[in-house]
């Protein structure tokens, strides 16, 4: 049950007869009569309105949408009754699904079906759902309407934005430089034997494989009458492939912290996505685990487009838990993922010696067999605070910020002493920084 603005206007119009008929009829009874007329008209309109309960509703919503992009959520409204269904419809999505428009007019003739499209532009990662569909069916006089909320389950998975994919082309170009696809065929660290092929002009003479050339046979010197020209064979090299990269994302309480309008967890996800895309193209295997006290998400044994799809889908619903991360479980987790030497990237903040004690205690177990890289987000606000010495509170803030930076540096130094590497950067710079580290390892053959 609901009334419209027209009903309010009708009630207010009662002022006209109350004043105009004054003298002829008693004004009080005119008022009562007018109210009765209004009520009767509203009841009549209510009785003539189509039933919103009988309406058939079906959904067609995109399964997933990348954060900041838009998707259409369509609702098919079937009117099975014999009256025309007109009124307002609202598809009640969660606020952060960014549904527009919030309410739409509805006009479905008897026995027909209409599509109602709501555009979703989510501004938060995770699974968004629609709580209900509310229909307000107005009567032919548009004075009153019947209203019902109907549960039509609808969900959409909002994937991480992967804004750092803009860094991917430049990193892939760097990777190709390492790779044999450019004319780098010198044997060195981080390369492995690829193939033997005939010498063409422009090849480095140092890469000629004399033994293979001899085995191939033929006359040296070329255009002699004794036989066919001697063909020189060269060895080609390519960067090592089929290495393993394991990414452990810390989703504990420290990941809930927001830096520059992005939680640490989101930054970690961005770094993971960029690194995974890059390492996958480079021919390495990528395994990802999101961990605090238990494994919140895990992606293993996937390659190519499947890998990124699985990663984004796994990450989508994960929010930081307000728990202290149990680092002692990480070595076992890594052991369960691989036995061979791998690059283990741990995305966690390095803040103070106190909060990273258990991480530091666990680290030697990993560095014994693996190459460990810790990707930590630093807060640009801390650096800015150290430069601001304007007034008394600002000086104390600068001191506290310096102290925090010093703490972070001490932890980083401790990690380095334990055999790990640290890469730390501001939220937007961390994903490319981690990828650059990976490329540097690859170039140096440390994988």
């Amino acid at each position: 049950m609901a009334v419209t603005g027209w009903f309010v206007l009708l009630v207010a119009l009662g002022a006209v007869p109350v004043i105009a008929l004054d003298g002829a009829v008693e004004a009080g009874s005119v008022f009562v009569a007018w109210m009765v007329v209004c009520a009767l008209l509203a009841l009549l309109d209510l009785a003539l309105a189509a039933s919103p309960r009988a309406v058939g509703l079906a959904r067609s919503t995109a399964d997933r949408v990348r954060l900041t992009e838009s998707a259409a959520a369509t609702l098919y409204v079937t009117n099975p009754g014999r009256r025309k269904l007109r009124g307002i419809i609202r598809d009640a999505w969660e606020p952060s699904a960014g549904a527009r428009p919030a309410r739409q007019t509805l006009d479905v003739p008897a026995g027909e079906r209409r599509a109602v499209t709501t555009t979703l532009t989510p501004w938060r990662r995770g699974e968004r759902r629609s709580a209900a569909v509310t229909i307000r069916a107005l009567g032919p006089l548009r004075l009153a309407g019947r209203q019902a909320s109907i549960l039509v389950p609808g969900t959409i998975t909002v994937l991480p934005e992967f804004a750092s994919r803009k860094h991917l082309p430049s990193r892939l170009a760097r990777l190709r430089e390492l790779d044999g696809r450019t004319s780098v065929m010198v044997r060195g660290q981080g390369t492995e034997f690829d193939s033997l092929r005939e010498y063409v002009r422009g090849d480095d003479v140092r890469s000629i494989d004399w033994r293979a050339t001899a085995r191939r046979g033929g006359e040296p010197g070329g255009a002699g009458a004794a036989g066919p020209a001697q063909t020189l064979m060269v060895r080609t090299w390519r960067p090592e492939r089929d290495r393993r990269v394991i990414v452990i994302v810390d989703s504990g309480r420290t990941a809930a912290a927001r830096i520059a309008n992005e939680t640490r967890l989101d930054t970690a996800f961005e770094s993971t996505l960029l690194l995974s895309a890059l390492a996958d193209r480079a021919g390495d295997r990528v395994d990802v685990a999101i961990f605090d006290r238990r494994v919140r998400g895990r992606v293993q044994d996937s390659r190519g487009a499947d890998l990124l799809a699985k990663l984004t889908e796994t990450m989508a619903p994960i929010d930081p838990e307000l728990l202290e991360t149990d680092w002692s479980g990480v070595p076992a987790l890594v052991r369960s993922m691989t036995a061979q030497r791998s690059l283990v990237v741990i995305a966690t903040p390095l803040e103070s010696p106190g909060s990273t004690r258990s991480l530091l205690a666990m680290l030697p177990q990993l560095t014994r067999t693996h190459l460990v890289l810790i990707a930590a987000v630093t807060d640009p606000e801390l650096i800015a605070a150290t430069r601001d010495r304007g007034d008394r509170p600002a000086v104390y803030r600068a001191a506290a910020a310096e102290r925090a930076l010093l703490d972070a540096e001490r932890v980083a130094a401790a990690v380095t002493r334990l055999g790990g590497d640290v890469v730390s950067a501001a939220p937007l710079d961390l994903p490319p920084a981690v990828s650059d580290c990976y490329l540097a390892y690859k170039a140096a053959g440390r994988l």
Binding site: M1, A2, V3, F7, V8, A12, A15, V18, I19, G23, A27, G28, V30, F31, W34, M35, R53, G56, L57, R59, R90, A92, S96, R103, R124, A131, A132, V133, T134, Q147, A148, S149, I150, L151, V152, R253, A256, A257, R258, D319, P320, E351, E381, L382, R387, R389, D391, R392, P393, V395, Y396, R397, A398, A399, A400, A401, A404, L405, L406, E409
Partner: protein, 399 residues
């Protein structure tokens, strides 16, 4: 697809709210019952024969009617005349009680009432009014009861013996009969004017519900008002004396118009207030600001006045940055950095060491000065190094 309707049907909504509707009904019934039992105050006028308030006179009027006296209520002079005419036609003697609780009648109008009835009773008239009648040079004052009236010749007063009240009006005037008097005045006056008895009752409280049961008040009131078989109870209304009230000048549609406006407002509230479906609840993740620990520590420093600790933190930061700028490497100690910085910036070594290591700030002003100096030193070194690099580059190229 199976769908569930969340909104309850009208029947279910009614059934669900049945208890509260019932409870409200019971509450209203109880309230109505209590009102019916206790009566409701319709008017707060003094001596209103229909009012059950302490200053009303419903008690007296009811008792008189039960005793067989025909009590006629009159609000205007015309009604008074009509009632007295009716009594005369019936051949009954009549008492006219002027219960002017709001003091609307002036002397002239009261004087015009003399001679109409067999007895005219005036309840607490103003002394000026008495001047217009045959009571010359009246003044009045108030006193508190009880007053002995047993020696009165007035039959009603004699029966009453004593009258009581908190504010009894004592009139100091000349009269045929003065009763309930103290030294100089009387609360009860009686005089024959134009062949009719005029009684002035200074004990207005004797007529009121609240005080009628005190001492002999009831006897006096009943004796005066019930002397004759008919009583005209004259409580003049403002319109009767030509006064214009707000209700007289407002047209009849004003109140219904206000009700219409209220109804429209109610409808508008329902129109705007009716939600289109339930509010959607969303669980949001906890988000913490990272700078909170830093801010907390800063406040701790400031409150505790940890100036040296704060300055040391600033110094360590400066030393780290200087070491990086001067490319001194990790093995460089504080002394090395101080010496390198002093020589690069062209400053006195002792002063630089004082700034970077030794100085202890005695107050916040000094702390701020030192912190400013640290920044200046850093900038000076950085500028110097940048200049050196620029001037070095061509040499290296040529060399």
């Amino acid at each position: 697809m199976t769908t569930t309707v969340l909104t309850p049907t009208v029947g279910r909504a009614v059934r669900r709210s049945l208890f509260w509707v019932g409870a409200a009904g019971v509450a209203i019934a109880v309230a109505l019952g209590l009102t019916a039992l206790n009566g409701v105050a319709t008017s707060t006028d003094r001596w209103d024969a229909r009012s059950a308030t302490p200053t009303g006179s419903l008690a007296l009027a009811t008792v008189l009617e039960n005793e067989g006296i025909a009590v006629e209520l009159a609000a205007t002079r015309a009604e008074v005349d009509a009632a007295i005419d009716a009594a005369r036609r019936a051949g009954d003697a009549v008492t006219l009680l002027v219960a002017d609780g709001r003091g609307l009648l002036d002397g002239e109008r009261i004087a015009a009432l003399t001679g109409l009835a067999d007895r005219l009773v005036l309840a607490e008239p103003a002394p000026e009014t008495l001047d217009a009648l045959d009571f010359p040079f009246s003044t009045s004052r108030l006193t508190a009861g009880p007053i002995d009236v047993g020696s009165c010749t007035l039959a009603a007063a004699e029966r009453a013996e004593t009258i009581d009240g908190d504010a009894i009006v004592i009139y100091e005037t000349e009269a045929d009969e003065r009763c309930a008097s103290d030294d100089s005045g009387a609360a009860l006056l009686s005089q024959t004017i134009d062949g009719a008895e005029v009684t002035v009752l200074g004990v207005g409280e004797a007529l009121e519900n609240g005080a009628i049961d005190r001492a002999g008040n009831a006897a006096l009131a009943l004796g005066l008002a019930g002397e004759h078989p008919r009583l005209v109870w004259y409580s003049p209304s403002p319109a009767d004396v030509g006064l214009v009230t707000l209700a007289d000048v407002t047209p009849g549609w004003v109140n219904p118009l206000a009700w219409t406006a209220a109804a429209a407002l109610l409808a508008a509230a329902f129109w705007r207030g009716r939600r289109l479906g339930p509010v959607v609840i969303e669980n949001l993740p906890v988000v913490v600001k990272t700078t909170e620990t830093m801010e907390g520590r800063a406040r701790l420093y400031a409150r505790g006045g940890a100036r040296l600790r704060a300055l040391d933190a600033l110094r360590v930061g400066t030393l780290r940055r200087l070491s990086a700028t001067l490319a001194l490497g990790k093995a460089a100690g504080v002394d090395d950095i101080v010496a390198a910085a002093a020589s690069t910036a062209g400053r006195d070594l002792r002063a630089t060491r004082e700034l970077l290591v030794d100085a202890e700030p005695a107050n916040d002003t000094e702390l701020m000065r030192l912190s400013e100096s640290l920044i200046t030193l850093e900038q000076a070194v950085a500028r110097r190094v940048a200049l050196d690099d620029d001037s070095d580059t061509p040499e290296r190229m040529t060399g």
